[in-house]
Symmetry: C2
Subunit: 789 residues, 2 copies
């Protein structure tokens, strides 16, 4: 198996380019480590008496623990050298990437399977799916080698993956044989595919989200039952009040005569989708009846829906807090294990880790960290300059590593090196001063606004077309001027989001415009696609204005910060949508057809079916809202999430299938009542955290240290260009500084979190800090830790 994994690694990972030199170095170091373990494995196993003279293998093991703690991985791997080396490979980014690529290939198969967007033969899709399944099996096999056998079989997510793989295999065989003999068959195992995303080792965030939902369910259910009870009472009242009055709806159907129809109508009213319509017949009959609906909307739409949000929010927060506490606990456990591996007897009874060992460990965990940065971290850990640290300080290491410290080097401008006289001339100085001036920003904001007006005007007017070139030239000039003023590598540093944004947009617009011009001049007509892209790029350019208004920037920054977690919700939504899309496609495919305008179908105006003739659905041209393939299913489900008109969309499916109502209502409950509320809850929480929580303790101590050492960047004097600057390179460039500042400076990117867990931990920091202290003193806790090593 190990050989297989190695060959897989060699054949798949190596051809992929390594991200950076640092990454390459890390892999190299890890390989070295593995070699070492393989050669001296039995000799220096961590079970032996290796506490005093830490060997390379110990460092490797400790590094794995630290990096697990840093990224909150909770895998109880074997501590045998072979397992550790396999574990290192298992956690390699390329391996994780492969798994995700194959999961998405597997999910994307729905595009090609019947009902397909792009039809493919059954053997083709089956073959691809088989390959995917083999990859998943291999990954699982790899995992089984890493962790103890008993733990493997106790873990429900492994069992889940095995069951999914087996069921998919069975389904492929049944479906293939039935289809080849001409029978109809259902690809039921497709519903299981998105569950892979949840059960894969890397799906921690997603699993946590699902767990939170599951834990919140009982509370939600009680409110839901009360809500249903209120709805049923109102329905009964509506039946008694309106059923005997011989009223008719706009479509001429009897109004509120059937109890189940009333229940459904009132459920739709809760979503406000049929808001005035359902009331109008009663209101037209007697104005007083409006009271009934007002009361209903007040109680069920406003109060109950708010209560749902409150319950979902509260439970979600509560359970998430519990989960994060567990996370912090297990992080500490891992760090204590790492400490146990590297510990040496210090002065007195205390066990300590020496600075030398610590340096080596950090070097192994994060090879791309600069020496200065590492020394800074050490000086925080070792407050008293004893050149060794105790357990408490050591445990902080992953948190310290997770704080993004920006190492800034003041480097001279290349033009300054090449043409010092010219670059330092008074004209050049004036120019650079002008570019740095606030007025420069304002002028360009004004240009953008004028440009917005020009974009709004008709672009076929030749004058406007010429003006567009002028604007492009102005934007290019801006970038060149900025590059002239600031050091290019600093300008295009990793996290200089707006600089990158500007440059990419402008260059793309330039390329697009030139391509467009070429096509136009050669063929004589404009390519619509390229023109579309050029137009979109033009509009996107205007976003830049946001950056120059401080208040806007803070809101945008908060939004960007919660971006990664919104991605977790994206996955959550994907899983739910995919399952509903698969079920929906099997139930409702081809019930409604979208026919082009030139179709000769006799039911062209009613979506290809006589059943829909004259319905709102057909009248509103909704025919494309169907379950005929994955893409339109997803768009349809999105429309249902937005809620409006969902009863009309439903009606189309309902004409052929009575179960449609159940399907649609269930979707509404799951997505709108539960998931969207959790989404809102999360955004609320994230904003509150931004508004209230200050920097964490560790960050402030780090900042204090930086200030002590007079290495901090003065925020007053540096504009926002420097503000966001980050360079992670290791090498030390030639240092030179006019103002006498140190050439190397640090700044804490306090507003950014490396991991989503970091954000979550910060959310509940206030509540956790006290309990954390308790954990540290808990003797049982420590014992468990040391026993297990």
């Amino acid at each position: 198996m190990q050989r297989f994994a190695w060959s897989l690694w060699l054949s798949v990972v190596v051809p992929l380019r390594f991200k950076t030199a640092a990454e390459l170095w890390k892999v190299h170091k890890c390989t070295q480590c593995i070699m070492l373990i393989q050669n001296y494995g039995t000799l220096c196993s961590p079970h032996g008496d290796a506490h005093h003279n830490s060997s390379s293998i110990d460092f490797c093991l400790a590094a794995v623990y630290v990096s697990d703690a840093q990224f909150n991985r909770n895998i109880f791997f074997d501590t045998s050298p072979q397992a550790v080396s396999l574990y290192l490979l298992y956690n390699h980014w390329a391996m994780q990437m492969i798994v995700y690529v194959f999961i998405f290939v597997d999910l994307a198969l729905a595009l090609f399977e019947d009902p397909a967007v792009i039809p493919m033969p059954i053997w083709g899709t089956s073959l691809v799916e088989m390959i995917c399944l083999i990859v998943f099996t291999a990954r699982l096999f790899h995992y089984a080698k890493v962790i103890p056998r008993i733990r493997f079989w106790k873990d429900p997510k492994n069992i889940c993956i095995i069951v999914i793989i087996l069921l998919s295999l069975i389904d492929i065989i049944i479906y293939g044989s039935l289809k080849s003999t001409g029978y109809n068959a259902v690809r039921w195992s497709r519903v299981l595919r998105p569950l892979l995303l949840v059960n894969v080792t890397e799906g921690r965030q997603l699993r946590r989200a699902f767990r939170s939902i599951r834990n919140a369910l009982p509370q939600i259910l009680y409110v839901f039952f009360l809500f249903m009870f209120s709805m049923l009472l109102f329905s009964l009242m509506a039946l008694k009040l309106f059923g005997k009055r011989n009223l008719f709806t706009v479509d001429g159907e009897p109004y509120f005569t059937n109890f189940l129809d009333i229940v459904f109508d009132l459920y739709v009213l809760v979503t406000t989708a049929n808001s005035p319509d359902v009331m109008m017949p009663a209101y037209n009959y007697n104005s007083f009846f409006a009271l009934f609906f007002i009361l209903y909307i007040l109680i069920n739409t406003y109060i109950f829906m708010s209560v749902f949000l409150a319950v979902v929010y509260n439970n979600y927060k509560k359970h998430l807090k519990e989960e994060v506490r567990q996370l912090v606990k297990s992080k500490r456990q891992k760090m204590l294990r790492a400490f146990a591996v590297l510990q040496q007897p210090g002065s007195g009874e205390e066990l300590v880790v020496s600075q030398e060992n610590w340096n080596q460990l950090v070097h192994l965990v994060q090879p791309d960290i600069s020496n200065a940065h590492r020394e800074l971290l050490w000086s925080i850990s070792d407050d008293c300059n004893k050149s060794h640290i105790g357990k408490l300080a050591f445990v902080q290491l992953p948190d310290l590593l997770n704080i993004q410290v920006i190492t800034m080097k003041s480097r001279p401008h290349p033009l300054h090196i090449w043409f010092p006289l010219l670059y330092d001339s008074s004209v050049s100085r004036l120019l650079r001063h002008a570019v740095k001036h606030k007025a420069f920003v304002y002028i360009y904001d004004l240009i953008i606004l004028v440009n917005a007006i020009f974009i709004g005007l008709d672009e076929e007017n030749p004058l406007i077309a010429y003006a567009e070139w002028a604007f492009l030239a102005l934007y290019l000039l801006e970038i060149l001027l900025k590059l002239y003023t600031w050091e290019p590598r600093a300008f295009f540093a990793k996290h200089q989001f707006w600089n990158w944004f500007d440059s990419v947009i402008i260059v793309a617009a330039l390329v697009g415009a030139i391509v467009n011009l070429c096509i136009k001049s050669s063929d004589g007509y404009t390519s619509r696609q390229i023109l579309d892209i050029v137009l979109i790029l033009r509009v996107l350019r205007l976003i830049r204005v946001v950056d120059s208004i401080k208040r806007f920037r803070t809101i945008i920054n908060t939004l960007i910060k919660i971006g990664p977690t919104i991605l977790t919700f994206g996955q959550l939504i994907l899983v739910v949508y995919y399952i509903f899309a698969m079920v929906g496609m099997e139930l409702f495919k081809e019930k409604v057809k979208y026919l082009e305008a030139d179709s000769t179908d006799p039911y062209k105006d009613s979506c290809g079916t006589p059943l829909l003739r004259g319905t709102t659905f057909a009248k509103n041209n909704y025919c494309k809202n169907n379950f005929n393939n994955v893409v339109s299913s997803f768009i349809l489900l999105l429309e249902l999430t937005v809620v409006n008109q969902w009863h009309d969309i439903l009606s189309a499916s309902a004409v052929s299938h009575v179960s449609a109502r159940l399907f649609f209502v269930f979707f509404h409950i799951v997505v709108v009542i539960i998931i969207i509320n959790i989404f809102v809850a999360f955004i609320l929480e994230a904003f509150f955290v931004e508004y209230t929580v200050e920097k964490s303790d560790l960050q402030t101590s780090l900042e204090k240290k930086i200030e002590e050492l007079e290495l901090s960047v003065d925020n007053e004097h540096d504009n926002n260009l420097v503000d966001d600057m980050e360079t992670n390179e290791n090498d030390m460039g030639p240092s030179e500084n006019a103002k006498g500042k140190p050439s190397l400076m640090f700044k804490i990117a306090s507003k950014r979190y490396k991991t989503v867990d970091g954000l979550l931990q910060r959310m509940f920091e206030a509540d956790l800090s006290l309990e954390d202290a308790d954990d540290m003193d808990d003797p049982n806790f420590s014992n468990i830790t040391f026993d297990s090593v």
Copy 2:
């Protein structure tokens, strides 16, 4: 002026019956107090040396301070005896009631003014309005006599009322004279009427809500501008992408060609009202264009709307917290003033209030409090049995008074007194035991469920009609059995909500059914109105099931608890709706007509105007959604608040008025984005408080004391009937108890707040407690207090 106020008091208040004997006593005591002040006013003014021998006037003044502190009144009244007596009158509940009655009469005038629901001549409405204005002026005059002249003119709410009264007068005169000479005129001053609700002295809650909104506005505005910016960018992109593609909407109009129309359409899309419709032409043209709308909805509907909620919630909470802190501060100030009036030198340097004085004060502040209850409160204040209390303990008094302590007296059943042998017979005992058994509740829950099914069936079936009588009899039997088992006065105690609910519903249903039967047997046909009422009562009966399921009860209890504050929001909504309704009526009245089915109008099918022929508005029978009178205006505004189809409703007004869009969008921003979000925020906060905050310190100390004295009601043994029991009477009935328990028992109604401020204070308690302690030790603060007395 004083004589005027007195005669007003005599002529208006006295004819109104006094609520309870306690209330009567209070008024009597106050009048006595006033007499005293009038007779010896100059002699015993609180400015004199009255600190050692507290006179009645001092008590009166102290009582006013305490009661102000208890109800959070912030009126800086003159401390002269005359002013105090006037102030007592000013705060009398009947006076406040009169003001509110006249405000609602003033507001209700819109029903009779053109465009009227029930037309009335102009002189009639003008006369009523004049009377209202006179009452407001009198009230303001009264207020001016109570507080110092300078304070009166510095208070913006007084200026506001004066301006409103003057403008209303001017408007009446102008309108009357213009109308009488045949010109057209606009009643513009009607917009100002609801502002009276805000500016009246009693509108504290409402003013606070408006202040919170005003303070949150800047933050909301920044997010709103960013949101608008994003919307404009998307609109520009839509114009460029779709404008040149010759697409058409379902109605055959060009699709996305006019920039302003696009902006409006996309604004409507944020509210999801035109959700799939606006997307369909682009989606039908090319599936990829759906991406544009998905992105738009994700960013603007989901993310921005959540951000709005977050910002509104956060700012509202922050400012409310500040307001409540001010409230607590001024409450303490008032108590310190009261203390200064009653203080005596105690042992050492400390100034104290003796138990005797304290008793007299409490008696004056809350005459309906029982002696036992008062002693209980004293024993909490005076921890060390020193028979006098210091400043710190004294200041707690209003909080203590605000805690609802339920005094329970075990009283024998009247039947037990009248027929002791019969009532204590074994059959009677068994019966009472059976009624108290859980199975009794379950049996009646089952009966209710069966009844629900019967209600759902057709009531014209004679069998069902007879069954209905059987159910009525069963319910009556239940009430009688319960009355037999429990003491009737306890059963119908003030806060026995469910007992009252049951009895009222059943008796009403019985009366309705009998009346219905009589009419039917005499006239031979059924009165629809009475039948409606009977049917509604039948359905309402089913609500009782909620009470027997514990989880439901807790949710309902939380909802009931936040009820009073929802009323504040009701007033807020009323003010905003009224203003918009008035403006809307002037702008859009008679543009759209609702015509009965037998009308001969040629444009009957298009709401009486050729402009609406063939529009969705006319097709959907929306004609009654118009601004032709106050009632339909309010219902229309409610429909706009629910949001769905609001663009269709708007279109009807827009055909005649271009400004309609502005009006409707402005309404949407004010009501949906700001007020509804605050409403949601409040419900969220209230639920979170319920989930997390435990009883406040004072309540627990009170509970401890009750337990110490062995006076607490044992929750285990008493079922929920006793659980909610409360009697406030003063007299001590004959005590008798079988189990040897004390005949008088206390229980804290911890789940109820006497005032909305109490709930708010509890909300922010955790944050306030520390700062409160600071206030107490602040010497400056005390000085200010003593100086001002």
